[in-house]
């Protein structure tokens, strides 16, 4: 068999050479024959003549030899493909549905595989990634070490070639103009050498550049940051820039494909961690108990297994625990991969992606099952054609081959479209930055593996659903069919296929319900109960610390910033806050005590309250309603009595009710008595789904903060405002880094989970809808083609259109109604789970209920449109003549 294929392929591709060889062979034979004749003393011409005579026609021998090669499979394939394309063009509805279904389900699989490939399968983009391991604590999976701890591990281990460490830091970078907040990696001097990274430009620093604290003021830029910030300027090497007001020299640029060893995270540049004090303000290089190095890692020496290395590191750890009992504990380690922070991120990511892959695989399987029944319907429609071909002597294999060719054609078309879509999506995902203030992205660019998998999936699914009608074709009896037409055996029993369809419809309805609930909740959460108004407000993050402001310089500068902002045309009000609500997941909190409490132990605390340090105009700028009392003035400074504005929940928790709270006192942990001078509405502070939290607002003048956000309320265009704010800040201090966005953009982080949930539910809903459509379509098409004769007779006997439709599609709609009802019910139950992710997600919403019913109805109409048209267009006259 194999040999046959090889020879046939050879025959196809080397036809010319095969023919030449054949000629050579035949002529050799004749020559040998002539030679024999010559030996019998015939003259050469006669010898040749007799040899040719004996051989017979060379041409016909050639022809027969060629025939032995047979009609090449590939020629048959080409014929089948042409025929298949013609058949598909004849039923564009079927083709479109099938191709679209496969495009969606193969696309979904390709996207999930693309992510798995990038996150789990593909090794890290460094040389010899297979021997690179990081050191993790067994107790909590953390890889962090203190600097002295790292040095001990680096110098005393015998398993690693060398050990590097890094930490993630944020800083202000002033490169002459446009100072900005950046993310950097503070790395050990040997970092690049350990990883084997060669510079794209200039040089990288080495272990030999380090000579104690603050001895190596060098920067290696990441390629992306070099591109975006310095426009690929090669002259940047050698330039001195300010990092948090300390001079550093740019000595090189990292290669384009190197963004550190943590997937997701792309730092702007690298600097030696011995200079950590200049970035962070205080030195922690000698603090043995402070585990601030994020991760340590290195290549294992040749022949050393991870388990051996872990044992080696553990013996050092045990020794350190003994020598420094106060500083080191739980020094039991295991080795893991650095790219997803070992199992810490790796396990949930792997679990999530595996689940997703399973889901996508199930979707593809269900799609194949549905397409299989569609295909059976088609095969039933074509039973006369098949019977005719069988009667004319075509082999059943040949007919099956034709059907499979059609199936694979469809699946390849679907696969190509799906792959194209998924490649686009992955490209978009890999440049997508979900949070502008964090350098987080998904490096999931597609590669050859993805194309291979998509092709395989397409072929496999084509063969899978193409196999469904095989039995039907094999059973076809040409004699019976040509004689009496297709035999309609109408199943009344509930089949597995029906059950499968109901399940699909139900799942689809669940997903449609959930996504509608999620969308409604998301929309509603943007408009109520936030405790501030994110529309028409700008948020400006500034780092006074990064620009070198300390002590009394901070409030002075803050006052000047407010004054400068207020001169911007269209600025209605400007306020300051140390950290805006909903800016990140945690926020700042502190315990508070009632005024009567004397023992200020944590156990006696009355509540844990959020803290916001604000300027007098903050409430106006933020759009937070002051319900009673007053806000702060510039007289509430550090010489005045301590005052606070609290929210209603705070007042309820500490004083019993809002009315009681005005003018009353409460205490903080350090014993400070604070008087409540105003009450504001409740809001959301940490995340959108939290219960009402107590919050206190303190005047910035009484509790200063150098981490400051400006809040500006204005109806003006955000882009113009951004430019104006930028120029005002530059006038104040050209070295002050800032980060400007609208407040709505500032909510991206807290809205992320609900947005992701909504989008994924929506996508799954689309998948579910697609499955239901093809499922119903398949069932309806099958029942119409099976019952064609019965329907024709009904029409001939004068049945109304409605009755015909009912007869043809009643079953499909019954299943649809049943599935939808089950799905809606389950969806309402599932929404309770959803409410923990999406704020105010409730299914008891007439719009949602109506929407689901409408969506399912529309889906049913769409799915049965083509079969219904066919049922109505049955012409009994033609039908009776034909069959």
């Amino acid at each position: 068999m194999w040999r046959d294929i090889v020879l046939r392929l050879r025959a196809l591709f080397f036809r010319r050479r095969m023919d030449d060889e054949l000629q050579e062979e035949l002529h050799f034979h004749i020559e040998m024959e002539a030679r024999k004749n010559r030996r019998r003393d015939l003259d050469p011409a006669e010898a040749e003549r007799q040899a040719r005579l004996k051989f017979g026609s060379v041409v016909s021998a050639t022809e027969e030899c060629r025939e032995q090669r047979g009609m090449s499979s590939i020629e048959i394939l080409a014929k089948d493909v042409r025929f298949g394309l013609r058949m598909l063009r004849k039923s564009p509805g079927f083709t479109a549905v099938a191709v679209l279904t496969l495009a969606l389900s193969i696309g979904a699989n390709a996207v999930v595989f693309g992510v798995i490939n990038a996150m789990i399968l593909r090794p890290l983009n460094v040389p010899r990634a297979e021997s690179l391991y990081s050191i993790h604590r067994v107790s909590d999976n953390s890889a962090s070490q203190s600097y002295p701890g790292y040095l001990d591990l680096r110098d005393r281990n015998r398993s690693f070639e060398d050990l590097a460490g890094y930490n993630v830091l944020r800083a202000g970078l002033d490169a002459g103009e446009n100072p900005s907040r950046v993310w950097l990696l503070a790395v050990s001097g040997n970092y690049f050498d350990v990883l084997g990274i060669q510079p794209h430009l200039g040089r990288v620093f080495h272990g030999s550049d380090e000579h104690g604290p603050n001895s190596a003021p060098y920067i290696v830029l990441s390629h992306a940051y070099w591109h975006s910030r310095f426009q690929d300027d090669p002259g940047v090497v050698g330039r001195v820039v300010q990092v948090n007001k300390h001079p550093f020299t740019i000595i090189g640029v990292a290669p384009p494909d190197f963004t550190g060893t943590l997937l997701f995270f792309s730092p702007d540049f690298f600097l030696p961690m011995v200079n950590q004090e200049q970035v962070e303000g205080t030195s922690i290089l000698n603090a043995r108990g402070t585990r601030w190095i994020f991760m340590t890692m290195g290549h294992l020496k040749a022949g050393v297994t991870p388990a051996q290395a872990a044992a080696d590191v553990n013996s050092i750890g045990a020794d350190l625990e003994k020598t420094y009992p106060k500083d080191h504990a739980q020094m039991i380690f295991a080795l893991a991969r650095p790219s997803l922070y070992g199992d810490y991120l790796g396990r949930p990511v792997r679990a999530f992606l595996t689940a997703l892959m399973l889901l996508a695989g199930l979707i593809l399987l269900a799609a194949c099952a549905n397409l299989g029944s569609l295909f059976s319907a088609r095969a039933a429609d074509r039973s006369r054609e098949v019977a005719l071909r069988l009667a004319l002597g075509a082999g059943r294999m040949r007919i099956l081959r034709q059907l499979f060719t059609e199936a694979v054609l469809i699946s390849l078309m679907g696969g190509a479209i799906g792959l194209w879509g998924s490649v686009e999506l992955l490209r978009w995902l890999s440049v997508w930055q979900p949070f502008p203030q964090f350098p987080i992205n998904l490096p999931v660019s597609p590669d050859a593996n993805l194309y291979g998998v998509a092709l395989l999936l397409a072929l496999a699914s084509g063969l899978l659903f193409g196999a469904v009608p095989v039995r039907q074709v094999l059973r076809t009896d040409p004699y019976e069919i040509v004689k009496s037409g297709s035999i309609g055996r109408i199943g009344r029993r509930i089949t597995v296929r029906d059950l499968l369809l109901v399940v699909q419809i139900a799942i689809c309805a669940v997903l449609v319900t959930s996504s509608m609930v999620a969308v409604r909740g998301l929309v509603r959460s943007m408009h109520s109960g936030l405790g501030f108004e994110p529309r028409n407000a700008m948020l400006v993050g500034t780092g006074l610390e990064m620009a070198g402001y300390r002590g009394d310089a901070v409030p002075t500068m803050q006052k000047r910033m407010i004054d400068a902002m207020e001169t911007i045309p269209g600025a209605a009000s400007v306020g300051l806050v140390d950290l805006p609500p909903l800016a990140n997941a945690t926020g700042n909190g502190a315990i508070v005590f009632t005024d009567e409490t004397t023992d200020l132990a944590p156990a006696n605390a009355a509540a844990t309250s959020m803290i916001f340090k604000i300027s007098p105009d903050y409430f106006r700028a933020a759009g937070t309603a002051l319900l009673s009392g007053r806000t702060f003035t510039s007289h509430d400074d550090k010489d005045a009595p301590h005052v606070a504005v609290v929210n209603q929940e705070f007042a309820r928790k500490i004083f019993g009710s809002a009315n009681n709270a005005m003018g009353r006192y409460y205490k903080r942990r350090d014993g400070t008595r604070i008087q409540v001078v105003g009450i504001v509405e409740d809001g959301k502070y940490g995340n959108l789904t939290e219960d009402p939290e107590p919050a206190m607002f303190l005047p910035l003048l009484q509790s200063p903060s150098s981490e400051i956000w400006l809040v500006m309320r204005s109806n003006a265009d955000p882009q113009q405002l951004t430019a104006a704010i930028k120029s005002r800040l530059r006038d104040l201090d050209a070295g002050l880094p800032s980060f400007i966005q609208t407040w709505n953009q500032g909510l991206d982080l807290v809205l992320f989970p609900s947005r992701v949930a909504t989008v994924s539910l929506g996508l799954l809903g689309v998948m579910g809808a697609m499955l239901s459509i093809t499922g119903i379509f398949g069932l309806a098409a099958y029942s119409v083609s099976k019952r064609k004769r019965e329907l024709g007779i009904r029409i001939a006997l004068g049945a109304e259109r409605r009755e015909v439709l009912q007869a043809a599609l009643g079953r499909a709609f019954k299943l649809l109604a049943f599935g939808s009802a089950a799905g809606l019910f389950l969806g309402i139950l599932a929404s309770r789970v959803l409410a923990s992710i999406v704020y105010q997600a409730t299914p008891r919403d007439p719009l949602v209920l109506a929407g689901v019913v409408l969506a399912m109805l529309l889906l049913g109409l769409l799915a049965t449109w083509i079969p219904a048209q066919r049922a109505l267009s049955i012409d009994p006259v033609i039908l009776l003549r034909e069959e």
Partner: protein
């Protein structure tokens, strides 16, 4: 056409058997095969040389013989055929079948 086909079929079967048998002696080119068959059958069997080559190609496709270019005894390039393992097995079966068939025919002829 049809009668031609059936005659060919019969010939094919026998010719295949003869080729396989001839090749048991070792690899040889097409002309040598026909010479050998004629020689051993003492010229009783005349190989139709026009159908020899289609038969060789057919056997090659079935994997019973394999072909390689080599150098003939006169120093010319020639295509040498040799038995494959499955060809050897085939030869045994065919030879046995042929033996049974010819015995049976002989018996029938004797009876008549």
């Amino acid at each position: 056409m049809a009668s031609d086909q059936s005659r060919l079929d019969l010939l094919q079967g026998t010719l295949d058997l003869l080729i396989l048998r001839a090749l048991r002696a070792g690899a040889m080119h097409g002309w040598a095969i026909s010479e050998r068959i004629e020689l051993i059958s003492q010229d009783v069997l005349q190989v139709n040389q026009g159908s020899l080559y289609p038969a060789l190609h057919r056997l090659e496709h079935r994997g019973w013989i394999k072909a390689e270019w080599g150098v003939s005894e006169l120093g010319r390039r020639a295509r040498f055929y040799s038995l494959t393992a499955s060809g050897r097995k085939r030869l045994e079966i065919e030879a046995e079948n042929w033996g049974r068939l010819s015995e049976a025919i002989a018996r029938v002829l004797r009876m008549a």
